[in-house]
Amino acid sequence: MSAQESGRDGVTRRSFLRGGLGAAGGLAAVAAAVSPLRELDTGDLTLERLLQKHYKEMTPEDKERVLERIRNEVQQRFEVRPELRDLPPLPGVEFAYALNLGRCIGCRRCVHACVRENNQSRDPEIQYIRVLELPRGSVDVERSEHHYDHLRVPSPDHYYMPVQCHQCENPPCVKVCPVEATWKEPDGVIVIDYDWCIGCRYCAAACPYFARRFNYAEPSVPKEELNPDMNYLSNRPRRKGVMEKCHFCLQRTRAGRMPACLEVCPVGARNFGNLLDPESQVAQILKTKQIFVLKQDAATLPRFFYYFDQDM
């Protein structure tokens, strides 16, 4: 009898409860999933940013709109109107860096000039350059130390090797990115679209030089220390959950200037220039000095060259 009834309605109490509970659970899960949308107009996440295209797919108008949005965001956050640009790669230019290990004294001026120039987070601290302290007579980076804190440098029996992104010609970090948020520009610099990065950190795991830094927490930069000279692909402020790294100071170098780490070096150990210009300083070094690259066996073909040269 009851079966006949249920057959007539097609709904038993059990199936009704089951369906109702399932629907409520599903609804709650959907609500939780879209809960970030509640922040849409209140703060961090805007609809514009949510619908923003990949850097390479933007039209010039799209880019200008995005730059304007970022300018407004920065002004809101730091009370400074930034000079935000999107400098294109220069034709006929491939950047390269050369570093004289015979000169470096490990004073970390480059590290902190970089932090200042590129608006890295001060708390938690993020630094692109690591200065390794190595015992003289070996290039065994496994035995290096980069937390050294002497009163005076250089410490005897040690030499110093600053390591930053090597802008590889064959970059493993680019290969592993699942969303193509990082890529190699025509001037050889590996860049990151901070608005496209999903924060999976595959690239950091793939990098043999430990050159990539992740914003595990919301980065904080003091308002008065913000560098307003900004570029879309380089030093504009980042958010929590995105990767960042050295980009050869694109906001400077694509305007023809030297990188910040070079200009502050008190011993002049650093050299930067256009690899394709045979008269450039870097090309002269490659021609006349005995250069080497770090972890050559990784076959990454870095654009960052080291050499020892301590002539009198």
């Binding site: 059990r14 590290v111 804190d149």
Partner: protein, 240 residues
């Protein structure tokens, strides 16, 4: 009877189990949603206070300011008066005076085998420098003097690969400022003096490197528990 037939046709066991799961999964999702929504406390990341770096220590100015040139002649403080060298050195110095050097006691001469004033300073005109051939040159041309001994370095400097070049890497877009020899090196003591390093980086980003001794498991004793701090304390003690 009827219902038995129906359930046996559909298979009692799996169906009942499936509905039990259905009742369980719904509240589970609800609970998860509630936890994601309300609970989910932010993770506590232990971290040190960030170190501040004084902007003045990140100067891009030349490291040395060689003494002011006035009419191409250096001016130095003598008894709190600014004077040209020739204002005192208007008479020839005796051999004994040169050897004993009673004046200019603050100048430390550590330049290898180049250990005599008149190797570089022109004794007949102290406002000028002297090349090894005997030609007198003004102070502004000091690289000409240095090159007489440091030829390869001078060549490198001319090509821009010795010494710092500030400004523009692209000379067509702006000025390149090549620092001169004496803007980095003290000619009396050319080796770079030791400097104080800026603060190192603590924190989760770099923990994986750590202290090699600690990583190798050789030693777990030390003045402090934290391996990162221990490096600091030990190396400071070694310095003293």
């Amino acid at each position: 009877m009827n219902s038995e037939e129906r359930s046996s046709a559909a298979g009692t066991g799996p169906r009942a189990r499936a509905s039990a799961w259905g009742i369980l999964v719904g509240p589970a999702f609800l609970g998860l949603a509630a936890w994601l929504h309300l609970g989910n406390p932010p993770a506590e990341i232990p971290r040190q206070e960030p170190m501040r770096v004084d902007t003045r220590r990140l100067t891009t100015e030349p490291r040395r300011k060689p003494s002011e040139l006035h009419d191409g002649r250096p001016l130095i403080f003598v008894n709190s008066f600014l004077r040209h060298c020739s204002e005192c050195h208007n008479f020839p110095l005796s051999e004994v005076q040169i050897r004993n050097r009673q004046q200019h006691g603050h100048i430390v001469l550590e330049h290898g085998i180049n250990d005599a004033c008149h190797n570089c300073h022109d004794l007949s005109n102290m406002d000028q420098l002297i090349l090894r051939g005997g030609r007198s040159i003004p102070y502004a041309d000091v690289p000409e003097l240095c090159r007489t001994c440091h030829g390869p370095t001078f060549q490198d400097w001319q090509r821009g690969i010795h010494g710092r070049v500030n400004g523009y890497w692209d000379a067509t877009r702006g000025e390149q400022h090549h620092l001169r020899c004496v803007e980095c090196h003290d000619p009396h003591r050319p080796r770079h003096p030791a400097m104080d390093p800026l603060v190192p980086l603590p924190g989760p980003n770099t923990l994986r490197m750590g202290d090699p001794r600690w990583r190798a498991g050789e030693s777990h004793e030390g003045p402090e528990e934290d391996p990162l701090r221990r490096v600091t304390v030990q190396s400071r003690e070694e310095d003293r």
